[in-house]
Symmetry: C2
Subunit: 441 residues, 2 copies
């Protein structure tokens, strides 16, 4: 049943990214994640840009449509909302998919200003700069991460009824970010969707550390101009039957002494349920698999394994959740094709997660189930503070925007001494899966 949910056909990518990938993917096995937690010295709230809600674009024609704004958008959104009230979660997911298709087409149009109107905040880079260099990868990626943030935030607002607090912050050394956080909503205990776009100079040592394969980069007088950007998000729902989701997609560019540019992509999407639901797990993994398969048949199996390895709480002998995909240091087969793959992944976030949220929206739960959720939240905190390289790198970087890095932590968590679910319970079933990761598709 869940297979019908996925139809995020990245058609452009399908036609352009068919060249055979010869990269030996096993070389990517050393896990590394970065949440781009660069520094900020100033932060302030901004008003949400007027714009359509995520699903409102489903009513538009596939080509040539500008992003709706203002009163027209509100009307369109209200009309779609009326329809959605009667639609089941699969229909909703299909609509999310159509949104992604439309957004994809739009990238080809390249109308920067019109696209910016839909964002949660004006982009970090000035729109005039973005327009000047709209064909460059750093611009295309910045537009993608801003769009991903907007699409995901609006999808979450729609289901929750709450509103994201939007904080825009500047990084003294160059760049900044936009943090969107919704806390203590109706559906979500804490939902954070963060974008950062930073640039400046790296030391050779820092540049080496940023690559999972530790490739040595040669700078001019030891300094390497760089830019780094990404979108990352963690969503902790209140209902223990709705899983936590995390995703992060990022891009790095470093200029070497001779002027050549090194670039690479990284990212992933993974699910952390409190209870196992096989249908949800299949839907989530299959949606990711189909997105990956369009680009390379080895992507899903390799990146699924990498995800299980990365999100492993070693001292507990268990994974953080049921995984998804994780990759880093992706610099082949071409920048265009790597970007198309990342774009497919980013556009898969809403159809991966939202149908699961809608499905369990009204599930009832007991105090015991809530307690188990809180214990699992404690494990989430353990992973993020002890192992997550992005968090560790961020906390160790002077001047980092700590609140954006730690927005991944749940609102509440619990540590019970010697907590071990009784055999045969659904809690024990969950632990069994975390101790022995499964294949879901």
């Amino acid at each position: 049943m869940a297979t019908i949910v996925f139809c995020t056909a990245n058609r452009t990518a399908q036609t352009t990214a068919r060249r055979c990938l010869t990269t030996h993917l096993t070389g990517l096995a050393s896990a590394r994640e970065s949440h781009l937690p660069f520094s900020s010295t100033h932060s302030h709230s901004v008003t949400l840009l007027p714009g359509t809600r995520w699903f409102s674009r489903a009513g538009r024609t596939r080509r040539g449509a500008l992003a709706l704004s203002g009163a027209a958008a509100v009307t369109a959104a209200a009309a779609v909302a009326g329809f959605l009230a009667n639609a089941n979660h699969f229909q909703r997911a299909e609509m999310a998919t159509r949104v992604s298709q439309a957004a994809e087409e739009e990238e080809q149009e390249g109308d920067i200003l019109a696209r910016c109107r839909r964002f949660m905040s004006p982009p970090v880079t000035d729109t005039s700069v973005l327009q000047q260099r709209k064909m460059e990868m750093r611009t295309r990626m910045e537009m993608l991460i801003m769009e991903t943030q907007a699409d995901f935030c609006r999808a979450l607002q729609e289901v929750d009824g709450g509103t994201f607090k939007v904080d825009r912050w500047d990084r003294k050394e160059g760049g900044g970010g936009i943090s969107c956080v919704m806390q203590d909503g109706k559906v979500f205990e804490k939902a954070g969707v963060n974008v950062s776009v930073v640039f400046g100079n790296l030391t050779e040592e820092a540049a080496k550390q940023m690559r999972s394969r530790g490739k040595v980069l040669k700078g001019k007088d030891g300094k390497l101009p760089f830019c780094a950007m990404g979108v990352s998000s963690v969503i902790h729902p209140k209902n223990p039957h709705i899983p936590t989701v995390h995703f992060n997609y990022r891009y790095f560019e470093v200029e070497e002494e001779d002027g050549t540019k090194q670039w690479w992509f990284g990212g992933g999407t993974d699910l952390t349920p409190v209870y196992i639901n096989k249908e949800d797990a299949f839907h989530f993994h299959n949606t990711l698999k189909e997105a990956c398969d369009k680009h390379h048949p080895q992507y899903y199996p390799d990146f699924k394994k990498w995800c299980d390895r990365y999100f492993y709480i070693r001292h507990r002998g268990e994974t953080r959740g049921i995984g998804g995909i994780f990759f880093d240091d992706l610099d082949s087969p071409s920048q265009e094709e790597a970007f198309n793959f990342v774009k497919s992944c980013a556009r898969t976030v809403v159809p991966c997660y939202l149908p699961i949220v809608y499905k369990h929206l009204n599930d009832s739960f007991t105090d015991e189930e809530k307690d188990w959720q809180q214990v699992r939240r404690g494990r989430y905190v353990e992973f993020n503070l002890v192992y997550d390289r992005g968090v560790k790198f961020g906390l160790a970087t002077p001047g980092s925007r700590i609140e954006s890095i730690l927005m991944s932590l749940p609102l509440t968590a619990r540590w019970e001494y010697m907590h071990e679910p009784a055999k045969g319970t659904i809690e024990a079933e969950m632990l069994e899966v975390l101790r022995n990761p499964k294949d879901w598709v």
Copy 2:
């Protein structure tokens, strides 16, 4: 007023530890803490040994008294409990002090079996072995940490009304531990008091890492026989007006190639209030200062600073709490005097903390105060998982008893995005102190 609370006169130490300490204490400045989180493969609960409650020993003569046990102890304890019901927290603290004095005298007697009867569990080392080598430092220290555990647990049980769960665990490679945990009690959200006594062989690299000054130790064929032991505890009360306390006292012994033994002590006691109470802060620090001053006038000022440096949450720019003392690598002026100092510190735990607990036992609190406590608990988790070297060392050691290491985490914690108390509030006053550590005495 609080000055009258302290009278833990370590009289033996006073008369024997008066030699001038010439060690240059500033050399100890590099912070290092170890909670001795060595491995365990087996754990089981044991019944509490019949024994007196912590304060029951106050009624005994100062010399020659065996530990009471069984019915006599219960009767004595009941009599003292009756008195305690009418005593204020300062009187109670005075009694706790007398207990400590009695315990100290008892050490001189050296009746291992009688002393063991008071423990929360039989000691890790077999009593016959302890008796055989009762003059050795490892035995004297094991007895001290077991006594400290018993005194503190009983003091907490008395005020809470609950009972500690006692888990005894073995370490496959040698030694084991006793974890006492009380969870969701009337007064305490989570109280853990852990003892571990471990031995075996260290690699030269591991031995070096265990010393804060990184001293190189030469082993036979690269291996160094060692023993390490300690008592550590974290108490998280429910009432936000009762502070969290942590202490840890430990001893290491490593045998070098030529048979010489390297040894050193480490430890400290520190307080983490949710709200500033100057009287409590003065009492806590002054009690520690008086204990330190008996041994060396520089101990308190140096170890107070070391404590503020060690318990620093760098990414927040704030200390974990209002400090106390912290030291490591203490191997001078003599083993006897270093041990006497550690003994004074260990015996100061009850008079440092219990009067504060009694004082605030019935303080009323609001939901907002409870929320602020939960936010501070979140910071406690951040320190312990990100910075605490003992926790990090423990989590990274294969086969560690994770539940004993992580019993320091609170039962519940909270992370609110961009939480910042309003100016002029008592929450802001607390933060101000954490950002700018004060001298309290």
